[in-house]
Amino acid sequence: MATGELVRMEHIYKNFGSVQALNDVTFTVGHREIVGLVGDNGAGKSTLIKILSGAHPATSGQIYFDGKPVEIKNTWDAIQLGIETIYQDSALVPQLSIARNLFLGREPLTGPKWLQRMDKRFMEEQTRKLLGDLGITKYINPDTPITSLSGGERQSISIARAMFFESRLIILDEPTNNLGVEETHRVLRFIHNARDRGLSCIFITHNIYHVFQVVDRIVVLRRGKKVCEADPKHTNIDDIEKVITGIYDTLPERSAG
């Protein structure tokens, strides 16, 4: 890859007791690249992603970030590196306001340090600015609770949050689940924008039709193994589907490359 790699996960193994969830998976994400990670239930997608986001450790294997070997022991390590994970429809705290969600875990403080007072004015200003950037047309107050927002608005805010804090890699777990057609398109457009601003994305989904619209590269896992990588421009959906379900072992020659 000419642009170099942002993330390289090399020879990753993961065992849960006697179950081998991942078997020698090597997975990379380039700079400014959107990678679609697809596979059936239990293929190991979430396990791979949880290792990258620090939710649980790999049994063996090495992770490189920006070419340097790194150890990701917990979610905080991942966040420090600039890896932001957005789990399906649960990246936000529904009871909290947009502003409080935006700065959750990174609350700006004001006044004496021992008081630990949040700088609410700053939070509201920044949220208002961000909502403007998002192009959310109707007026939304920064102190609106998340429960009042639609699914697409929530996803957009999660992604915008990652962009706001200058994350370098956004991991999206089923971001288009439970969304309407219009909203799905908005979220997909949003992912494109994020890439254009210099972020990389991993897009995990069952819905390979959505993947095909936005990703630069598709990686297919089956039963804990990486079975193929493909460029969606030179592949058709049917072939990929057959690889996912195991009808094909890997991509046939005619569509590869």
């Binding site: 409080r100 990174r106 609350e107 630990q116």
Partner: protein, 350 residues
């Protein structure tokens, strides 16, 4: 003219609507209604008295003194419980810790092992340990807080009974100690006698309201209860937050129990029995969600007052005290209907 009425509407409507939609509004109205009704009922009874007096006995100095003596003690437990419940957990062991802490302090003192002050510090340290164990079981071993704190309820109560052989501890030589003056020293405002515990309660209320609403910790507490997964993914230390809140809850209970034992000059191994449910009732009446994510310290203070005024007022009016629980139950049910309807109206269809 049309413009001015529109302006008027714009100025009043949103703030009024905001006030009514606030979860504390219902409890506030209920508390005011209670006070008005009990004042009215007790003054009418007084009117039938040969020594005619229109002043409601419910508002008499003696009764207010009574009301304000025990309320801060339950209130302190409720404050700790509010933060814990906002973080999505609750603590059934508060009543037992309330009784146990006082027993620990008095046992140390009565056996001559330590001074009262050292005994106090030791009892508080033991409560920290109890809270830590509760929190550790819940966050590390992922056992539901219902089961963990139910176990702790029995352990703490059992320990109190075992240590004392079931007999109350001697407490009468507390009078001259500095500790008792600090915790429950008395002073008077007019005819109303005030205990220092009320001052502490107000201070704790202010601190905890600040923590929940304005501090970073408050954001973490609400996030832990609202969506722990999302919070963890953002680097919020949900486990640590919950453990600290379990410790806070146990410390508040121990502090309240010790305060109570000095005030009533009795450390009974059975005291605090059943407080856990009363305190949880106070907290939910005040608008804190049982499932977590949303909590209000001001609501809790209102909830505490609602139940204490109800208990006191019912007796004053002449309803048998045994009927108290019927009213409490009715208040809880009514308030839950109110809170859920407000949530439906403001939460979703915006």
């Amino acid at each position: 003219m049309e413009a001015s009425s529109r302006l008027q509407k714009a100025m009043t409507a949103p703030s009024v609507r905001k006030l009514i939609a606030a979860p504390e509004f219902g409890p506030l109205v209920l508390l005011i209604v209670e006070i008005v009704v009990f004042s009215f009922l007790t003054s009418r009874r007084a009117a039938s008295d040969p020594f005619f007096t229109i002043f409601p006995s419910f508002l008499s100095a003696t009764n207010i003194t009574n009301l304000l003596s025990f309320t801060p003690e339950l209130g302190m437990i409720a404050l700790g419980m509010t933060l814990l419940m906002t973080a999505g957990e609750f603590d059934l062991s508060v009543g037992s810790v309330f009784g146990f802490a006082a027993i620990v302090m008095w046992t140390f003192f009565n056996t001559g092992a330590t001074s009262l002050e050292i005994g106090f510090v030791l009892a508080m340290l033991i409560s920290v340990a109890i809270g830590f164990v509760n929190g550790w079981f819940v966050t590390r071993l992922r056992i539901p807080s219902f089961l963990v704190t139910l176990g702790m309820l029995l352990v703490a109560r059992g320990s109190a009974l075992y240590i004392t052989d079931g007999f109350p501890q001697r407490t009468w030589n507390a009078g001259q100690s500095v500790l008792s003056a600090i915790l429950v020293g008395e002073f008077s405002i007019g005819e109303v006698r005030i205990y220092a515990s009320l001052i502490w309660f107000i201070l704790f209320t202010i601190i905890m309201h600040y923590v929940l609403v304005h501090s970073k910790a408050g954001n973490w507490i609400q996030a832990s209860g609202g969506n722990a997964m999302a919070a963890i993914a953002r680097g919020v230390k949900v486990g640590r937050t919950k453990v600290l809140l379990f410790i806070l809850s146990a410390m508040m209970s121990a502090y309240a129990g010790i305060t109570s034992s000095i005030r009533v000059s009795a450390a009974n191994p059975n005291s605090g029995d059943g407080y856990e449910l009363e305190v949880i009732a106070m907290v939910v009446i005040g608008g804190t969600a049982l499932a977590g994510g949303r909590g209000s310290i001001l609501g809790t203070v209102l909830g505490v007052l609602i139940l204490r005024v109800m208990r006191n007022g019912i007796v004053m009016v002449g309803v048998p005290g045994l009927a108290y629980k019927i009213f409490i139950g009715a208040i809880i049910l009514g308030m839950m209907v109110l809170h859920s309807s407000i949530e439906r109206r403001t939460g979703n269809g915006r």
